[in-house]
């Protein structure tokens, strides 16, 4: 197990380095002239040069690359082009706010989606199954901002059930905070319902067809005993993997959701940075989201290895 974990960690670090390099290339190599990109095509050359000098973007590309990578190791993500302050503290505060929203979304969607997937698998090809599959396809195909808009119009404006904006008044207690976050979280939860339910369904169907499930049934276990002791543990492996991947992708959808509900989290911060061409904030944000994704997949791999000994033993040999 220790060997599996260390191997897995090493691979994560390699991926993280590659990811940082990709982000660096997008932010520094593609624009060719960072100062010009920020100031626009009509700015005088002198101010562009001055800006490049101030930002350090007139140094050779290789030096900047080494500098950026060294900054990553020491957790120094540079200073914002706009405010001149280090980007990390602001980003971490935004990540914390987004984590609340994302956490609520996952909390809403995971149990419902897993139960729906399990139920659909048990009633395979029956009406309930068809319905759940159709619902899954539909829910995962609609962009979060569309679901968000429809929710605002119906639940917020017409029925006036929930607040339309997501930011709670300062020092609000937890139930109030949840009330404010409920609608944006639902908009995100709907997208993930489809992915998770379909993955649980197909994982469960595979396991239900296996020999060991039949053996369990034949040695006289009740259906619920079979499900609990033999089916669930194996059937949920792909589900755990897909949830981990979705945690990373959550941050893609969160940008649009936070815009609709005017919630000052990671997405809003990234979007403002994008509009003001604040490249350090954008790159640091992208790398933080990459780290979140790596941690999520790492955790899921460990959970999967714990659920299925074959995986961890295989890699040891």
């Amino acid at each position: 197990m220790a060997r599996y974990i260390s191997r897995r960690l090493l691979l994560s670090l390699v991926t993280l380095w590659l990811l940082a390099t990709i982000v660096f290339i997008i932010a520094n190599v593609l624009p060719n002239d960072v100062g010009r990109t920020i100031l626009g095509p009509f700015a005088p050359q002198e101010s562009v040069d001055a800006l490049n000098e101030r930002l350090g973007t007139n140094r050779p590309i290789f030096i900047r690359y080494v500098d950026t990578m060294a900054g990553l190791v020491t957790l120094d993500f540079g200073d914002s082009f706009i405010t001149g302050k280090p980007v990390l503290p602001d980003l971490m505060a935004a990540v914390a706010r987004s984590a609340k929203l994302a956490g609520l979304a996952l909390f809403l969607t995971i149990p419902v989606a897993i139960l729906a997937g399990l139920y659909a698998a048990r009633r395979r090809d029956k009406l309930a199954d068809r319905g759940i599959v159709l619902l899954g396809v539909t829910s995962s195909s609609i962009p979060e901002f569309v679901t968000g808009t429809i929710l605002v119009v119906v639940v917020g404006v017409q029925l006036k059930l929930l607040p339309v904006l997501a930011t709670p008044p300062p020092n609000a207690d937890i139930p109030t905070q949840i009330r404010y976050l409920l609608m944006p979280a639902t908009a995100m939860a709907i997208v993930y319902f489809g992915y998770i339910a379909r993955m649980t369904r197909s994982g469960t169907i595979d396991v239900l067809q296996s020999d060991y499930t039949r053996t369990a049934a034949m040695k006289g276990l009740t259906t619920s005993q079979t499900m609990r002791r033999h089916v669930l543990r194996n059937a949920l492996i792909p589900t755990v993997a897909v949830i981990a991947v979705q945690i990373g992708y959550l941050f893609g959808g969160i940008i649009a959701v936070e815009k609709i509900f005017n919630y000052n989290g990671m997405g809003q911060t990234m979007l403002f940075a994008a509009q003001r061409k604040d490249i350090p904030t954008l790159t640091a944000g992208a790398i933080i989201i990459g780290i979140v994704y790596m941690l999520a997949t790492l955790t899921s791999d460990l959970i999967i290895a714990w659920m299925n000994p074959r995986i961890r033993l295989d890699s040891d040999s």
Binding site: V14, T15, L16, L18, L19, T21, I22, V23, I26, A27, L30, P31, T37, V133, L134, V137, T138, S140, S141, I142, P143, E144, F145, V146, T147, T149, I150, V152, V153, G156, V157, Q158, V164, L165, G248, Y249, L250, F251, G252, G253, I255, A256, K259, I260, M270, L271, A274, Q275, K277, I279, L282, T283, G285, A286, I289, G290, Y293, M294, T297
Partner: protein, 297 residues
């Protein structure tokens, strides 16, 4: 309506059958497809939007760009879906609103699938070192949400339809590559590949003439799946302001321009384009999903 045979035989060839049999299998797949209501409904909706977009101003009740007066007018008998903040007819704008996304999204999907298939074929077939290096790169790309990288890239490069196509297409490439790679990995162990090797065929020949036709099925499925995601992605990017640019009546862009008015009760210029986006992404995904389940049987 005389033929009632629904073959349960797999449509995908087990080991490179002659072309005629492949054509037969393809016809069979099509026939099964047209028995699925989800496939028919999905196709009809997509076709409907294509036709409306193509006919455009000839069938819209008003000129989608004509400003009647400065302000919002609720839905009524004159304007079935009301008017937007500049007094333009919402219904007319929704009808032509699919134009840009229906050009940008398929091209982005096509680019991603072509590049991804090529990459996946190379990765799956040559295995070893090439595969290891490329797999790590793909993994790194997949660690970032497409929307986020696209946002970053479009900010840096400036937004235009061509850049959106390129960026979304390139970001889809690793995703497609991974799918094709795993299809190639299972194909290359089959006897027909060994037979071709023993005949002394070159790697390039085996890859292009033997393996490629056999992974074409998953590739076509991937194309429809990617098309759905491309609409999803382009609409979201437009909503974020880095996708399709004004004065296009694009749905995502319209939602971005009007959503702040929802709070004051002006829901119609936002809701109708939003529902239009929902209808087309659901339709494309219904088609993709049935295609996937039919070819997997």
């Amino acid at each position: 309506m005389t033929d009632v045979i629904v073959s349960s035989k797999p449509a995908g060839p087990m080991a490179a059958p002659p072309t005629s049999e492949r054509a037969k299998a393809r016809r069979e797949t099509l026939r099964v497809l047209f028995r699925r209501p989800a496939f028919i409904v999905g196709t009809l909706i997509v076709l409907g939007w294509i036709v409306t977009a193509a006919l455009g101003q000839r069938i819209t009740p008003y000129d989608p760009f004509n400003q009647f007066f400065a302000g919002h007018l609720p839905p009524g008998s004159d304007h079935l879906m009301g008017t937007d903040r500049l007094g333009r007819d919402v219904l007319s704008r929704v009808m032509v609103g699919s134009r840009d996304v229906l050009i940008v999204a398929p091209l982005a999907a096509l680019l991603g699938v072509v590049a991804g298939t090529f990459l996946g074929l190379v990765m799956g077939f040559y295995h070893g070192m090439v595969d290891n290096v490329l797999s790590r790169l793909v993994e790194a790309f997949l660690a970032l949400p497409v929307i986020l990288v696209a946002l970053l890239t479009l900010v840096v490069l400036g937004s235009s339809s061509v850049v959106v196509i390129l960026v979304v297409g390139i970001l889809f490439t690793p995703i497609v590559a991974r799918t094709v790679r795993s299809a190639v990995l299972s194909e290359r162990q089959l006897d027909y590949v060994t037979a071709a090797r023993l005949r002394g065929e070159s790697g390039l020949f085996i890859l292009s003439r033997e393996i490629f036709p056999n992974v074409l099925g998953p590739t076509i499925v991937e194309m429809t799946v990617r098309f759905g995601y491309a609409i999803f992605t382009v609409a979201t990017l437009s909503f974020l302001g880095v996708g399709i640019q004004p004065p296009s009546p694009d749905w995502g862009l319209t939602v971005a321009e009007e959503y702040t008015n929802m709070i004051s009760g002006i829901w119609w210029p936002t809701l109708f384009p939003a529902l239009a986006i929902a209808s087309i992404v659901i339709a494309v995904n219904l088609v993709a999903d049935t295609l996937q389940s039919v070819t997997n049987e």
